[in-house]
């Protein structure tokens, strides 16, 4: 039963991404993307990553996608321009097809029957998923977290500076 549900979510992830790509109305495309993010969150749940699932919904569905929608509304794009949307360039098709095949092969070749590391399922169930991620993030990867924080801080400062300058002009 649980495998059937897992299979449903994996297959519908594929189906929904195709739907999201082929929609003519950008708002509909964003909504399919929302459905896709929710399905991905459920797949995370199947992988015992409850914290990641919730963060997926809060950050991607709750913040980034809403920003997409606001941008769409600000641009007032009710329909995408009626141009040909798909290229017929054979080199491009070959390149993308081959790279996807290579990725899939690389993933398949690195599948191990049994996980042999520090973070086993038993360990994670013992300490809890959220705590395990937190401890790892702020100890082993603390430098990366700091760098990310600085990278995110700079655009914030830049945006405030731009907003201030605009206010001076109008007054």
């Amino acid at each position: 039963m649980i495998y059937l549900i897992f299979a449903y979510f994996c297959l519908s992830t594929l189906g929904i991404s195709i739907m999201a790509l082929t929609r003519k109305n950008p708002v509909h495309a964003v909504l399919w993307l929302l459905l896709l993010f929710l399905h991905v969150a459920v797949i995370y749940l199947f992988l015992n990553a409850e914290f990641l699932a919730m963060v997926q919904v809060i950050v991607y569905a709750g913040a980034i996608l809403v920003m997409f929608l606001f941008t769409l509304f600000l641009l007032g794009a009710r329909e995408l321009p009626k141009k040909k949307r798909y290229t017929s360039m054979i080199e491009g098709r070959l390149l993308i097809g081959l790279s996807i095949t290579a990725t899939i092969l690389a993933v398949f070749s690195s599948i191990k029957a049994k996980y042999t590391g520090k973070y086993t399922i038993k360990y994670i169930q013992e300490v809890g998923n959220t705590k395990a991620i937190g401890v790892m993030l702020f100890n082993e990867y603390s430098l990366a977290v700091l760098i990310l924080g600085v990278i995110l801080l700079i655009p914030m400062i830049a945006v405030s500076v731009l907003a201030w300058r605009r206010r001076d002009d109008t007054s």
């Binding site: 929302l34 929710l38 919730m54 809060i58 809403v66 929608l69 998923n129």
Partner: protein, 331 residues
Amino acid sequence: MIEFLIMLIKTTVVFGIVLTHVAYTTYAERKIIGRAQARMGPMEVGPHGLLQPIADFIKIFFKEDIIPVKAEKLLFQIAPLIVLVFTMINLTVIPFDKNFILADINVGLLFILASASISVYGIILAGWASNSKYSFLGGLRSASQVLSYEIALGLSLAGVVLMAGSLNLRDIVIAQHNTALGVYAIPQIIGFVVFVISAFAETNRAPFDLPEAETELVAGYLTEYSAFRYALFFLAEYVAMYIMAFLCALCFLGGWTIPKFVTDILPFLEKVPGIIWFAIKVYAFIFLYIWVRATLPRYRFDQLLNIGWKVLIPAGILNIIIIAIFKRFTS
């Protein structure tokens, strides 16, 4: 199979009780506001107007469901459902008593924040799908209001998570019960105030009820809705009020427990079932909602965003810093 049946019965009981409460909250609201304005409130249907909510629901559910010709039909129809479903789903992670919780998951608090962030889509879609200027602008306004206050809400709850060391709502209550004061509302007074204000804004209630400001944008994203689709939005608003009241009771007021120093003085209070303490706290918060609506004037939209971004978010961050320092030097 038996487990499944028990789960089904529990779910029905919880949803039934909450929906009955929602119906009678509308009655309580009209009565209390009536008293505040020296009127009687509803008096006609039943003794003291007690059957008024039932009459209202019968009326609104049998009205004609009008869908504008130029509306995006499917999205127009599902928008109220998105709001209602993703509000009601929160009831599953709320612990009503020590052992009465539908789904005891480890990330309960994040679950509530996540479903709140999805229900914003219902508001945006309702505005967009109506294909009307007023609805659209109102929808965008309400969405940006809910989004900005969600940050303040999350920050004030982050202080609670930091202090309790868990995202599980039951663990938060137990951790709270083990502190000397028994409630987080006193050591985290800044976070508590931020939480209360953003809870009002998050549920689109007075003094932040911009969709109700007829002079500006008619009825905001609700303009084109009628009959039971309007009722669904209405229902979702009241359920959301209850969710916020539950969260406030659980995260700041000690949930189903009462502080230990009280039971030390009056030991017989321990025999009172936890659900009663929980209900008292929730009713107090709902009363606060209604009281504020009867008392305070409405904010302008730019004032509302300024309060959110320039006062509440810095205050929330300050709260986290204070709690972090406190936590560092006590444990």
